[in-house]
Symmetry: none
Subunit: 410 residues, 2 copies
């Protein structure tokens, strides 16, 4: 029997629906991978009695509870107070937490407001969880059968704290048999197309097959039981990869634990190949460069609204009725002026109105110049402007990825 885990989210913004509780789903995924059975999510607002009741109930029925939110400096942040009352553990001043918060503000040349002092008050005998990513420290404590972990609600802080402060020691507290989760990350193909392509692959009943789509990628998830024979893992994975081909840009959980998103994969490949890149963006309007934050190989990026103006700046004429030829000429001009050995150029056919209307599609032309050679791609983009923007940034990055690493092998 796996240990039972519950997720508890605190925040008026969650119960009133102003925030979608993505913390709960993220934490659940982590917990399932670690080998817990997640039995329940609960979200409550900032009513102290509700919090106390819920903590008391969970202490009696779960083996582990991860709580997020309610650790902030303001009067509606009541988690520590609720723990103190529910479990009769008066709040105590934690001088180390206090010093860390002061340092956080000092690093930003700011004085810590008085209200933050509240965040240094932790329930008696709770173990402090350092927050290197924000001000609110977390804490953990055993109450009855349940080990409670309290983390801030800000997703980036919560995730970092969970991954760096909670996950590494979790096996000391629980006897867990983690399943093996392998995730194939794809781009440029939809969920139903993926299902169609892999429908002839036989997935044994003990292996959980799932899909997850977001705006950046579609993931195929395979959860293997802990005792699943390695050769069968390899066979199933190879079959899947054969069906999905170059749409798969990375595999998480097989040879490496976690890779990252497409920008991460491209960053790794560009560093290995020691290339440099210059970018001309149109549809993505800066987002392509923005996704490459931290990449030393990106020398420059440029967005110019009107293609005529861009042609003028690059002293490169527009080829009539041939956007691929135009993009190629822009790439050559940019290669010279930037000194980068690779250039990505993106142009689209369609006016501003078509771009911004979710009823219309645009045709996107992407060209990659490497040395003296070109790779080209053409896509039809639909949906609201933000979706077109994001897709065009990703598809340009993907042209680069497909050149650097055409098909993934395991």
């Amino acid at each position: 029997m796996n240990p039972k885990l519950e997720i508890f989210s605190q925040g008026e913004e969650i119960v009133t629906g102003q925030t979608v509780d993505t913390n709960a789903s993220w934490l659940s995924q982590q917990a399932v991978q670690l080998g817990f059975t997640v039995v329940r999510h609960t979200a409550v607002g900032d009513k102290l009695e509700d919090l106390i009741q819920l903590l008391t109930d969970i202490a009696a029925r779960a083996d582990c509870c991860i709580c997020t939110g309610g650790l902030g400096p303001t009067t509606d942040d009541l988690t520590a107070e609720a723990v103190a009352q529910a479990f009769r553990r008066p709040l105590k001043f934690d001088s180390i937490a206090f010093a860390q918060m002061q340092q956080f503000f000092a690093n930003r040349n700011k004085t810590m407001p008085e209200s933050n002092c509240k965040q240094a008050m932790l329930p008696q005998h709770a173990e402090r969880i350092d927050n290197e990513w924000g001000t609110a420290p977390g804490f953990a404590l055993q109450q009855g059968r349940c080990w409670f972990v309290f983390l801030p609600g800000v997703p980036s802080e919560m995730r970092s704290m969970f991954l760096e402060k909670i996950q590494p020691g979790i096996n000391k507290r629980f006897s867990l048999k983690p399943g093996k989760l392998i995730t194939l990350k794809t781009i440029g193909i939809g969920e139903s197309d993926i299902q169609e392509r892999i429908k002839s692959v036989i997935v044994p009943e003990s292996v959980q097959l799932g899909f997850r789509a977001d705006s950046d990628e579609v993931q195929v998830k395979l959860l293997f039981p802990s005792d699943y024979p390695e050769p069968f893992v390899v066979t199933l994975l190879s079959d899947m990869l054969a069906k999905l081909g170059a749409y798969v840009f990375t595999v998480d959980g097989y040879s490496s634990e976690v890779t990252g998103d497409l920008a991460f994969v491209v960053d790794e490949l560009m560093r290995q190949a020691k290339h440099t890149l210059a970018v001309i963006e149109t549809a993505s309007q800066g987002l392509l460069a923005a996704k490459c934050i931290g990449s030393p190989w990106l020398l420059e990026a440029r967005y110019v609204q009107r293609i005529e103006k861009l042609a003028e700046k690059l002293a490169s004429p527009i080829a009539a009725d041939d956007l691929t030829a135009t993009a190629k000429a822009f790439a050559v001009a940019t290669q010279k002026s930037s000194g980068a050995d690779m250039v990505l150029v993106q142009i689209y056919a369609g006016n501003a109105e078509q771009f911004h209307s979710k009823e219309h599609v645009i045709q996107l032309f992407t060209v990659l110049l490497h040395g003296e050679h070109f790779e080209t791609a053409r896509h039809t983009l639909a949906g609201p402007a933000k979706r077109k923007q994001n897709q065009s940034a990703l598809l340009a990055l993907d042209l680069l990825r497909r050149y650097l690493q055409p098909v993934l092998m395991i």
Copy 2:
């Protein structure tokens, strides 16, 4: 006292984190607008005893409960069975529901699979809710103090059924007084600083004051009771605005229902003022331009990794030890070459390593050139590279916003 409402979601895919429960947030927003107080969200998987326990608990503590999911044809869809057992209401065959499902399949030239018959079994004395958008009918029933509404988990079906079958009659069941939510959106100031600034403003007990921080903005939320006198709303809001000054970039829910984020507000202001803008980005690396997607006034944006290279391209020298002067010179050069009447330039002091390390801070210098005049700002940015990137994009946009609309008045 508003009636208390709970949201209950059933589905293994939710508790395991494979699906983010957007139904809960959507329903909560609807409920709050109608005048309910939403007190809790709960999600459980497909364990019958968990479902029964939860239904029993909710029947004792809430006035209304909206349940989604678990109405499908498969064996793990257990909601109706759980209701039958929890409330001793045996399942009865509903011939109208059955006929509607048959019609649904007939309309699609398909035969109804046998497994779907299960969906026509409803708890005794439940009121059927017709589903014109899919196969699973919903149902509603009064149990103890609580009115339960059961809807399918497919978001599009659930939303249509709620809006067309539940919402229109809700005032006959509940005496509802919808509140008025006003949100002040700020940038460049933390939650605790805000609280410090407004602590002398007297907020009556009947007005709910809340805060919400994400990576883009910090919101101050005021929820007024429906009968709160308008002049007092104005007074409280004016007091808040006076304390928060130029940090507030927009107010939602007062004169206009919803505005948007900072980029939205800047877009409106730039369109009204008929300005055009060129941008030089460093720390934000394309993200500033990317946030302005859809803005016709943004003529061009440029990112160049090395400041020496940028100076060379602009034929504008670097002023020794004076990044503000350097940025001003870059702005003047860009104003000439772009034809834009306004230019935003951003430069930071600090090397790539400092930028990418979450342990280090960078100094950001932002300059806005409008006509022949300059606005300047200087900020210390901390945290991981993505945070520095996002903050530097927002702070540049905010310099523009502060010039166009220094202080918001109501």
